[in-house]
């Protein structure tokens, strides 16, 4: 079965908003290599509306020829939104209703991993619904002090299990978690 893997750039205080302003300067060759591994293992992006709109405004304008740009523009994009009527970016499809059911069905289809980038509200709802297989937090050594957080106050308790961790030379720590379901089970 295909795994749904969420990759999140987060600050030390859990903020995920506008990573282009604070995260990209920590990127180096090792992190690009880790990204390349993730891209090779995945053949679909699953995105919330906000993240989709930000990415659709940026990536099609980028010059092709680099693995990252070519991958993102050509890979299948699945966009979860109840308000969007159409998605114009190359190889994009809308998921408008029965989101848990459709994502469960996608996981049953043959294919590689399904990667979520950003899309905090979607990540929270899939975690609650038991449909998220892996949460990969790229924790950056900066306290931002404000901005939208990945986890909101009052979201309730979720137990996760650490699968692996990797420390990059720029001080970013990649923590891969698997939801553990009910307390410790």
């Amino acid at each position: 079965m295909r795994k749904v893997v969420a990759v999140e750039l987060v600050s030390l205080d859990g903020v995920i908003e506008a990573p282009e302003e604070w995260a990209f300067s920590y990127s180096n060759e090792e992190m690009e290599a880790a990204n390349a591994k993730g891209m090779a293992a995945s053949d679909a992006l699953l995105l919330g509306r906000v993240t989709y709109e930000q990415m659709a405004a940026f990536w099609p304008e980028q010059r092709g020829g680099t693995p990252m740009v070519d991958y993102i523009n050509s890979v299948q994009k699945l966009v979860v939104s109840t308000t969007l009527q159409e998605v114009g970016w190359n190889n994009s499809n809308l998921i408008k209703d029965n989101v848990p059911g459709q994502i469960a069905e996608l996981k049953r289809q043959p294919g590689k991993d399904i990667t979520i980038i950003g899309s905090a509200a979607l990540v929270r709802s899939l975690l609650k619904a038991g449909l998220l297989d892996e949460l990969r937090l790229m924790v950056h050594p900066v306290i931002l002090g404000n901005g939208k957080r990945l986890f909101e106050d009052g979201g309730g308790q979720e137990i996760l299990e650490l699968v692996s961790s990797e420390t990059f030379g720029t001080g970013v720590v990649s923590l891969a978690y698997r939801p553990a379901g009910e307390k410790g089970s």
């Binding site: 205080d13 859990g14 937090l137 957080r149 986890f151 979201g155 996760l160 299990e161 307390k183 410790g184």
Partner: protein
Amino acid sequence: MEVTRKLIVCNAMSLDGYYEGPGKNVMDLFDYRWEAYPTDETFDAYNAERLRAADTLLLGRTSYDGFREFWPSVADDPDARPLQREISRLNNAIEKCS
């Protein structure tokens, strides 16, 4: 250059950045660890190492009260693990500033 003592902050924290659970209960952070890793002493070993490397413990009022309530009796608790009894002895002996 003048060599000064280092001030090291050591906090237990949940993935979403909380250091206590509902009702200001810090034990929420540790319940899971005990359930899933009943024989794992890595966390205690790390804390004992930090205390052995320090000669002053700097605490805010709330943490000081919490420590004072929890740690003094652990040293003589036959049910506590040896490492926890050591942490208790270290906490009891170390100079505390609050």
